[in-house]
């Protein structure tokens, strides 16, 4: 669960017509963002619903860095106002994951950043971004040998020699 800290109403920007949220990253950076932008995040939406129940304003503390948080905000800003099927909690999940060109460019980042973004998107419950990150990772290993997959994604081979060479059908996990 996130840490929630009460915030003095008078100090929070956003009083008035425009509703703003204060997001606090793990490196203690304070980022003010319009609630509308972050409404794609189920996690944030639930937090905001909680605020409304208590009629108090809060900062939302997030367990990832401002660098990652800013990337997520950039994603949400790009799709502000767009309907994406994956993010509709009432819609059936799409049969095949859509490939969005902008997402491919947006996620053209190094492996570590990609993994940080997918974890953040997962935490924030932004299914469309999780899907696009997962596709980007899947694309990285497409057509690669087992050894190449390990190398690309930094996975350690922790099989015993017997396990490694046993056919998969013998492996029951």
């Amino acid at each position: 669960m996130p840490t929630i800290v009460s915030v003095d109403d008078s100090t929070v920007p956003g009083e008035g017509s425009s509703r703003l949220l204060l997001l606090v990253s793990s490196d203690n950076k304070h980022i003010v963002v319009e609630e509308d932008i972050m409404s794609r995040s189920r996690f944030i939406s639930k937090q905001v619903e909680g605020f409304e129940a208590t009629s108090q304003r809060h900062a939302i503390l997030l367990p990832f860095s401002s660098f990652v948080l800013n990337k997520v905000i950039e994603y949400c800003s790009h799709y502000r106002g767009y309907y994406l099927l994956e993010d509709d909690p009432d819609a059936a999940p799409p049969g095949r994951s859509p490939v969005r060109e902008w997402d491919q460019e947006f996620l053209d980042v190094d492996r570590n950043m990609l993994l940080r973004i997918i974890k953040a998107a997962h935490y924030l419950e932004i299914k469309s971004l999780v899907g696009s990150c997962a596709r980007a990772i899947a694309d990285m290993i497409r057509g690669k040998t087992t050894e190449e997959m390990r190398e690309i994604l930094g996975v350690e081979n922790d099989f015993t020699p017997e396990e490694e060479h046993s056919p998969s059908s013998k492996c029951t996990g």
């Binding site: 003095d8 100090t11 204060l22 503390l61 899907g131 087992t146 396990e163």
Partner: protein, 509 residues
């Protein structure tokens, strides 16, 4: 900001311990559900691209213990059974897929025609959600062991793509009349379709290519079946359609209508009057599209029987009515069309995309005469918006000008390697006149035309290429520019950039 200072210190210490990205991230630290998500996309992609190597993706279970554990625990990864990899793997996948619905694709050929897959499937048929049966050899023996007689409580999609008409016949009571989830059927070469079966009632899409049989279905039987399919969104009936009367009355007599309120597309391919007989009772949304490929060997004027029906059904309010006529009798067409033109037959006042094909065209002039006569007989040229042309390359510019005389609304044309070079030349030669033909033409589709060829390491423009550039330039100079150019399978190595200088939108497919 001042408000931040209030809680900066306590937050910082708290978050530093909770952070999910404080350490160097590795994929091994991803939650299992995320890793499974990555695997699902990887498997989906791998199996879609390379069905013959259905086991290649299993390599992910050899990367690390955690990957193996996640992959083995995710039943959905294993639901596409790789039958061609052998019975051991098929059994293994069936077990590992747990309770998940199965996706089954059985593709037989001379080298692979075993019986065991059908036997295995019979046992697990209640779990089958998607079933594709395909053969690539008409001589293969039947080996479905009554699969299609089994109740199919989970079956959503059935596709039978066979060369042999007897291999996977649908029984008269398919799935023992129990397939409540069945929504999609696609069958190629179907000699006997169970039109009266209750399993058809929930269909969303139906695509059937019928082949001639001794006892073809009656038109009433087929229309009654379609009437029951109120959820249909896509309907394609191809081949030997049920027979309707060859004498069409105009206006057609009133018959019970068939409401298909969700239909998005209708595709019909068959003899003209049979297509007309199916179209006549249908009532569909104005947004539904029609792709009609009608064959007719009688007098060309009779082809007009379709247009009042199409107009009455609202098809020409549809986004893209697409009509193709086929004839196997070139001369017959020409003669009939001339006769129709001479007797003052007028075309319907319709916006239509027209494709004209001639099989066995004997000479360029007979084809030209034929086309000109047919277009005059069937359509007032001024109503043509788009024409796809497959004609002889020897047509002269004057012939093109005569064909398109009066086609002042035409905005798009499609040409191939035969008709393209001749049309480019005609457009170049007539483009600079005071009243060039096709004055509103702004879009061209070109397929399989060689615009540039390499000789001794140097690219040279072909005659077709030179004429295309010439016609684009002359039309641009005279205020009738081509604005979009779509090229499909054209050789355009060195000239795309040059084309883009003249045409705003160029795409190479």
């Amino acid at each position: 900001m001042a408000h931040a200072d209030v809680f900066r210190t306590p937050l910082h210490s708290e978050l530093s311990t909770n952070s999910i990205d404080h350490a160097l991230p590795t994929i091994s630290r991803l939650p299992p559900e995320l890793l499974a998500h990555v695997f699902a996309l990887y498997v989906e992609d791998a199996t879609a691209r390379d069905a013959q190597s259905a086991l290649r993706w299993v390599g992910i279970t050899h990367v690390s213990r955690r990957w193996r554990q996640v992959a083995l625990q995710d039943h959905s990864l294993w639901r596409r059974i790789p039958f061609r990899s052998g019975q051991r793997w098929a059994d293994e996948f069936v077990i590992r897929s747990g309770p998940m619905p199965l996706e089954v694709s059985l593709e037989y050929d001379q080298a692979w025609n075993p019986v065991w897959p059908a036997h295995l499937l019979v046992k697990h048929f209640p779990r089958v959600e998607r079933l594709l049966l395909r053969d690539k050899d008409p001589s293969l023996a039947r080996s479905d062991v009554g699969l299609l007689d089994q109740p199919a409580p989970s079956l959503v999609s059935l596709s039978i793509q066979t060369i042999a008409t007897t291999r996977f016949n649908l029984p008269l009571r398919p799935f023992d009349d129990h397939a409540p989830c069945l929504r999609h059927i696609s069958i190629r070469r179907c000699p006997r379709f169970p039109w009266t079966s209750p399993v058809l009632r929930n269909l969303v899409s139906l695509r059937v290519a019928l082949v001639a049989t001794v006892h073809p279905p009656s038109s009433t039987e087929v229309l009654d079946a379609v009437r029951q399919m109120a959820s249909l969104e896509e309907l394609a009936l191809l081949g030997d359609l049920p027979r309707f009367s060859r004498r069409m009355e105009l206006p057609p007599p009133p018959i019970p209508t068939i409401e298909l309120p969700r239909l998005r597309s209708l595709e019909l391919q068959g003899y003209l009057h049979d297509c007309a007989g199916i179209i006549q009772p249908l009532r569909v949304p104005a947004t539904a599209t029609l792709h009609l490929s009608a064959r007719w060997e009688g007098p060309a004027a009779e082809m007009r029987v379709l247009f009042p029906l199409l107009a009455a059904g609202g098809w020409f309010a549809a986004p893209c009515p697409f009509v193709t006529f086929w004839s196997s009798a070139d001369d017959n067409f020409a003669v009939s069309a001339r006769r129709a033109a001479a007797t003052g037959a007028q075309g319907a006042d319709l916006d239509v995309v027209l494709q004209l094909f001639w099989e066995d065209a004997r000479s360029e002039w007979s084809s030209f005469d034929c086309m000109k006569a047919v277009t005059e007989a069937l359509f007032v040229p001024k109503d043509l918006l788009d024409l796809q042309l497959f004609v002889h390359p020897a047509w002269t510019p004057d012939a093109w000008a005569a064909l398109f005389h009066g086609a002042e609304r035409m905005r798009a044309v499609g040409v191939d390697r035969y008709s393209g070079p001749a049309l480019f030349r005609a457009l170049a030669e007539h483009g600079g006149e005071e009243a060039p033909f096709l004055p509103r033409l702004c879009s061209m589709r070109i397929s399989m035309v060689v615009l540039e060829m390499g000789r001794d390491g140097v690219l040279e423009r072909t005659d077709a290429g030179r004429n295309l550039f010439a016609c684009l330039k002359v039309r641009a100079e005279h205020g009738a520019p081509i604005e979009t150019l779509s090229m499909f399978k054209c050789r355009v190595e060195g000239c795309v950039e040059d084309l883009k200088k003249i045409v705003p939108f160029v795409e190479c497919l």
